[in-house]
Symmetry: C2
DNA sequence: GTACTTGCAAAGATTTTGCTTCCAA
DNA sequence: TTGGAAGCAAAATCTTTGCAAGTAC
């Protein structure tokens, strides 16, 4: 079985440049934060982190950059089962789709990869002749630590 | 293989009464609309339909009722890949989980059930010792009709 | 009767838009 | 140089909250 680590296609900045997107200092900063983030950030998290490096960076620029990245399919937008109502979380798109497991008690987010998931996607594409571009799977429940 | 139709556990109103939830005319109306809706409604759709029967029903009551149903796990809250940014869609919870296929060109939403999906949930529960309470799968792409 | 629910108005939270100035290519 | 991007302020959306009045059980 092919086991691949969580690997982005290539650095987001490279990807953007090759697509003819104009690189500004703000975009470089935001993209760097998204890429190196361990967890899932929402727009405000991202803004707060960015402001530590560039205190003049505007919140609107964060939203516009996220929209640009979404349009290019370079980030995934999650809402993690609306645990924090209304907020959207972002992560750099990886080579391999993964499932998000959100513990509804402690809030921990785990990621899960599975060849069954890949098979399921194949089944959808075949049986419905549906060309999948993005998939999002979010499961909510109790993680192992919260079941004691 | 067990093939089950899309069947709700039992009428939502019954379910609510048995749980000791106070039934008002407003709740009866909203619950009836949710249950008999063919598609996926957002809060405003729901409000508009409800107002045709009770023009005094307030939008806030819609939000409060949806929150109550969510808390009881009787509706699922979807965002259908943020096709309409910010909006949440609701559907009565059915016995069997299903996958939503959202065509990013024409906007059509299809539903898909699969035993592979059930297996995948089993795998998550076993391998991560994660007790799943809700699952949401949304795939975005091109439906058969939009691929010509 | 009493606790829960509704309507109304107002506030909150998140995201988008208009417009001017600035800057990457 | 020039079209695209950023900053700022304001608007647009969607959702929640506080409180008085009404109602289910």
């Amino acid at each position: 079985m092919l086991v691949e680590q969580k690997v982005t296609r290539r650095p987001l900045e490279q990807e953007l440049i090759s697509r003819g997107v104009r690189m500004t200092a703000q975009r470089r900063l935001l993209v760097e934060i998204i890429q190196s983030a361990e967890g899932h950030l929402d727009a405000l998290d991202l803004w707060e982190r960015a402001r530590k490096h560039d205190s003049t960076l505007n919140k609107v620029t964060v939203y516009r950059t996220l929209n640009m990245l979404k349009k290019h399919g370079l980030v995934d937008e999650l809402d993690l089962l609306h645990m924090r109502s209304g907020r959207h979380f972002y992560e750099a798109r990886t080579m391999r789709d993964h499932i998000h497991l959100a513990c509804l008690r402690c809030g921990r987010i785990q990621e899960f990869e599975s060849s069954l998931f890949e098979k399921l996607k194949g089944q959808i594409e075949r049986e419905r002749r549906f060309r999948i571009q993005v998939v999002r799977v979010e499961a909510g429940g109790l993680c192992d630590k919260c079941q004691e």
